[in-house]
Symmetry: C2
Subunit: 322 residues, 2 copies
């Protein structure tokens, strides 16, 4: 990798905004068009490289009467927001292994305004994910493979998965700390393993961090230091549970003059402060507790949605006894 | 330093709780005795090594009608809380250079329940601070010297300051990121410089991080990795502005079985959630902005105290034009 001395920057670094995609996990992807358009324009104005607008998931699995358009990202719905996307911003959608009818729903690239397909997979779904990667690549997209819940994956399985990713046509392999449970030393270790696995293939490594322990930004910096060039973040850190690496922190850190912190601040002030009045995200103690026990945040989300939301000692005790 | 593999811990690591001292900066040190007692008991129960109960500052400079007892830490006031402190928890007070009548107000150790005096100094006050260090050491205390606003100190001056600290009778030298503006690479660089400066003297290096960029915990971990053994934290991250490294995160990270996360969680649930209803602290965008411009948080504190508290784009623009 290019060394990045303090006063300069590494031009290979690219930032992906997954505000609408990951943020959609807290409201059933029911964002109003105005907000999606605002995020799109903010990404353009802030010099962000990619915007992930939602999922390419299956309407048979996720009923359309319960989910907004960004669970499916039909071509017409995307174009309603971005037209033919004549900006320099690339567009991404995520497809979940076993939740996407990818052969049918992901169009050939020539018929789509999307540029990047990111395949999300748990370790046991890797064979399906690899078929999805090949399908998207054959259709003409840039492709990323994102192995989720990394903190639960055994070393031996990870080695095999990384070898299969390296041999696949994916362009990007993303380190995903789904539970927000990893510390910087672990991020460093994973970054080294991922980078070693893809060495010589021309593939890039990415990082998708969660903020359960207030480490999403710090861990993203750690990954950058190790040579990770693809960075996920969301505006004001929106995302399921504790949320993601906040874009405003990342923008203030990155030194490439193409990035513009002010555009993100303006979007937060005008649109995300009001949004926070009826949607909740961000680090708090129940998410620290699930991360501590290396668990999915769903039990903490349930706790926070109930009457007993402040009783986190009892919540801790239940996990501790489990 | 002792290497600390993942599954074990470094026994030299000691944690200092500065909840009442740093937290007192947001309420004029007007905590009720019940809360101070609770924090004391929590520190004992959680296996924390030191509790910093307040300042040893001068009543001529800080009027007693405007400040609580913990601005001065008179011996009788401390004993009202801790008795003769028959616990294993050591007690600390901070004295600010040029704000403390230290020769008069810091008693000989034999007459005090305090164990540690921490001298806080800006770079231009170092000669005074060194006299304070000597005074406290001669009186029989453990002594720490804490150079504040490190991000504004020039390299050459820092070298000279560190040499004077190394030659002083101080036991501990603390890296203080007053503005919460430092990134992990900078923490690593400072940690190496501090450790090199004190090498062979038997002194320990400490870290006091602020959370403006959600990096207080991550930077504290980084300092630990570099060999820093004295760690400051506060319960629920309370402290001026963006607050400090949250004790609950630190407790969940440290592997020494003497530490007890649950005791801290219980204290937060019972006492700090109610406290947060009338005191405000923690990371938010105005504190990111002051950190970004390497400024003291006071202008952000003012902003947040006023009607225009959400207008952080205008606040950013003012600093950007400055």
């Amino acid at each position: 990798m290019t060394k990045a001395p303090w006063v300069t920057y590494r031009p290979e670094i690219k930032v992906l905004d997954c505000t609408i995609r990951d943020g959609g996990l807290i409201n059933g992807h029911l964002f109003e068009d105005k907000l999606v358009q605002t995020v799109y324009q903010t990404c353009v104005d802030a010099g962000i490289d990619y915007m992930e607008i939602g999922y390419k998931n299956d309407k048979k699995i996720f009923a359309p009467d319960k989910h907004g358009d960004w669970k499916y990202c039909d071509e017409d719905d995307i174009r309603r927001i971005v037209g033919d996307n004549e900006s320099g911003l690339k567009l991404s959608a995520m497809a979940d292994a076993e939740k996407s009818d990818y052969k049918r729903d992901i169009l050939p690239k020539k018929d789509s305004v999307l540029d990047l397909i990111r395949v999300a997979t748990y370790i046991h779904q890797v064979p399906t994910a690899l078929d999805m990667v090949k399908d998207a690549k054959d259709k003409g997209y840039e492709v990323s493979i994102n192995l989720m819940a990394l903190s639960t994956v055994k070393d031996k399985e990870l080695e095999e998965a990384l070898a299969s990713f390296a041999a696949s046509p994916a362009d990007i392999v993303v380190i995903v700390d789904s539970y927000g449970s990893l510390y910087s030393e672990q991020i460093r270790d994973y970054a080294k393993r991922y980078l070693k696995a893809v060495k010589g293939t021309g593939k890039e490594v990415g990082i998708h961090a969660h903020n359960n322990q207030q480490l999403a930004f710090g861990n993203t910096i750690e990954a950058i230091i190790c040579g990770v060039n693809r960075l996920d973040a969301t505006i004001h850190g929106i995302g399921r549970g504790a949320g993601n690496c906040p874009m405003e922190l990342l923008m203030s850190f990155l030194r490439n003059p193409k990035f513009n912190l002010r555009a993100v601040l303006e979007c937060i002030q005008k649109h995300f402060l009001p949004l926070q009045k009826h949607l909740e995200w961000g680090p708090c103690i129940p998410y620290l507790i699930t991360a501590y026990f290396n668990q999915h945040p769903r039990s903490a989300i349930e706790l926070l949605g109930g009457e007993e939301r402040d009783k986190f000692v009892e919540f801790y005790d239940r996990w501790n006894e489990a």
